[in-house]
Amino acid sequence: MSAPASQGATPARAVIASAVPLLAATVLAICVVAWAAVPMRDAHPGARPVLVVAVACAWLAILRLGAAMFASRSGVAFREPSLAEWTRSALHAFPWAEIMTVAVLALEALHPSRPWHTAALGVVVLAFLLVLHLAESGARPAVLRPVLPLIAAGLALAALSVLAATLSASGGLVALIAASAAVAVAVLALPV
């Protein structure tokens, strides 16, 4: 018994097309964690457990993504609830990508100040989140075209912040700006 094939693409091409975002997300997750971790010898002693959490959450986020993509492809009749089903529901119990993001930022913060390194981490984390979203929703990269100016502006602001950090701006001013921005984020995240 075979599932009805989707119109247009052949099954093999559809599988490859769905595997590309998963592969890209995996590579970016590895890059994010590795970039935040190195060099470990300069890091605070508390960085090791945070690294373990980041690695675990990265893998769980990728597994969750793969499980969701697999589940959307298999609607086979008379499927018995199995260990795979249980694992899939367990994977959906926690937001692993969000936990990984927090862990990676904490890992970066446990290293000595290195503004350009942190800015590059921000770019990779953002790329990971965008690819994760594309893979999760099955959307094409073209859907991000309207937000490209915003991403460019954000990256420019990040570069400015790196300059400010390099020029040793006042810590109090940074704290004030950051707190104001946090309030803005909270307002934006209020329910629709």
Binding site: M1, A3, P4, A5, S6, Q7, G8, A14, R73, G75, V76, A77, F78, R79, P95, E98, T101, V102, L105, A106, E108, A109, S113, P115, T118, L121, G122, L126, L129, L132, H133, S137, A139, V143, P146, V147, L150, I151, G154, L155, L157, A158, A159, L160, S161, V162, A164, A165, A169, V174, A178, A179, A181, A182, V185, A186, L188, A189, P191, V192
Partner: protein
């Protein structure tokens, strides 16, 4: 022809999308670290995520219109069909449609057609009147920061059983005096050669067998078998359902009954059906395509009509014309039916049972300590089943076993080679 169903307006529940939640997490974590560590680069790290969250307040449709249609009113097992969905009033939100199927179907990927209808294909794999599943519509705003979800319950669809293959028919030795396609024992005007006899005045001269006449020295005549129609009544027992979905006793019984009805109707026989389910329902024997449709509908569709099974003491006379062949498709688990079969045999009906029991019941005993008890219980159950089948055979009711996969011709082969004697 596709017909659009009534379009309904559904309220959309909007919330932050997973993408937006992750951006919020990134921005808040970075800003918190910026405050905590007084490092400006963390505030900069939050900037792209913060900017991506700004355009969230776009006009989101509070409601959307959902139009539903089905490619066909009813499908047959193993047949591909599709549910058609049209989404309207979604403004500039992008729409993703998905079918969450019930266990009896295999769902395919949704595809948007040029006419604006989404086509949700599925493969029906179990007969009956069943729910298809739920329609899940996910909407995203232009910035993909808000996510709206709508769930619509899809209506029931009637799925007819896939008829089991049956090519050789069981024919009774004595057939009713009704013109048909089965060669009877009585001589008549058919085309099947029956023998040679002495010519008597009044016989048709074109039937004289000249070689036999030459050998015997007197006029000899070819005789032919009369062609008669048979009355077949199928008793479908779905009162007890046992076994895995798709291959349960009821699934197999429905397919066997559909296959037998189709084969006998194709041979221009009169076919009736007695459905022995939660209620006793029957169709009097008749011929033709309309009867085939009625039989399939009675097998597949639930109906509150009929007599409650508890009040039934014998099978209805109206559904059992004298001289009919009775084909019973049953797992032989319902003692009421077994008693009815004994009574049928006593009334002189030629009866044959197709046994569709392929599984054994779970005795409900677990653990090493109960293992011996479970084995014993199963053994007793098997012996009871063997005894039931033995008693039926002793009464002159043949019981054949069908696995649900092969053709019905295989188990019935012993009874299709020669006419079945229908006198006790």
């Amino acid at each position: 022809m596709l017909t659009a169903g009534p379009e309904r307006t559904v309220t959309v529940a909007w919330r932050l999308s997973g993408h937006a939640r992750r951006l919020v997490t990134l921005a808040l974590a970075a800003l918190f670290l910026a405050v905590l560590t007084r490092r400006a680069e963390f505030a900069g790290l939050a900037a792209p995520a913060l900017l991506l969250l700004i355009p969230r307040r776009s006009a989101l449709p509070p409601e959307i219109g959902v139009g539903l249609a089905a490619e066909a009113d009813q499908v047959t097992e193993g047949e591909r069909a599709a549910i058609l969905v049209k989404i309207t009033e979604q403004r500039d939100a992008t729409v993703h449609v998905r079918l969450r199927p019930e266990a009896w179907i295999t769902a395919g990927a949704a595809a948007l057609g040029a006419d604006g209808w989404y086509r949700l294909p599925f493969l029906a794999q179990r007969w009956g009147q069943r729910l298809v599943g739920t329609l899940e519509v996910t909407l995203h705003d232009r910035w993909r920061l808000a996510e709206g979800r709508v769930t619509v319950m899809l209506p029931r669809i009637a799925c007819l059983p896939r008829p089991a293959r049956l090519e050789s028919l069981i024919v009774l030795s004595k057939l009713p005096a009704r013109l048909g396609e089965h060669a009877a024992r009585a001589p008549g005007e058919g085309v099947e050669f029956a023998g040679v006899r002495e010519f008597v005045p009044g016989d048709r001269q074109r039937r004289i067998n000249w070689p036999a006449t030459t050998r015997r020295g007197s006029l000899q005549l070819n005789t032919f078998a009369a062609e008669r129609a048979q009355v077949t009544v199928i008793v479908l027992d779905v009162s007890i359902d046992l076994g895995p979905a798709g291959f349960s006793t009821a699934d197999l019984a429905g397919r066997a009954a559909a296959g037998a009805a189709a084969a006998y109707l194709a041979a221009r026989d009169r076919v009736g059906l007695i459905s022995f389910g939660q209620q006793l329902r029957w169709l009097s024997p008749a011929t033709g395509r309309r009867q085939a449709e009625r039989i399939m509908a009675m097998i597949a569709l639930d109906s509150p009509d009929g007599e409650p099974l508890g009040s039934v003491t014998r099978l209805p006379n109206a559904a059992l014309p004298p001289g009919a062949l009775i084909i019973v498709v049953s797992p032989l688990l319902n003692m009421r039916l077994i008693e009815a079969l004994r009574e049928l045999r006593e009334r002189g009906f030629a009866t044959i049972v197709i046994d569709v029991l392929r599984t054994e019941p779970d005795v409900g005993l677990r653990g090493r300590r109960n293992r011996a008890m479970a084995l014993l219980a199963r053994r007793i159950w098997r012996m009871e089943q063997d005894a039931i089948r033995f008693s039926l055979r002793e009464l002159g009711i043949p019981v054949v076993s069908w696995d649900g996969m092969s053709s019905l011709d295989e188990p019935l082969a012993a009874y299709t080679r020669r006419a079945l004697v229908n006198q006790p």
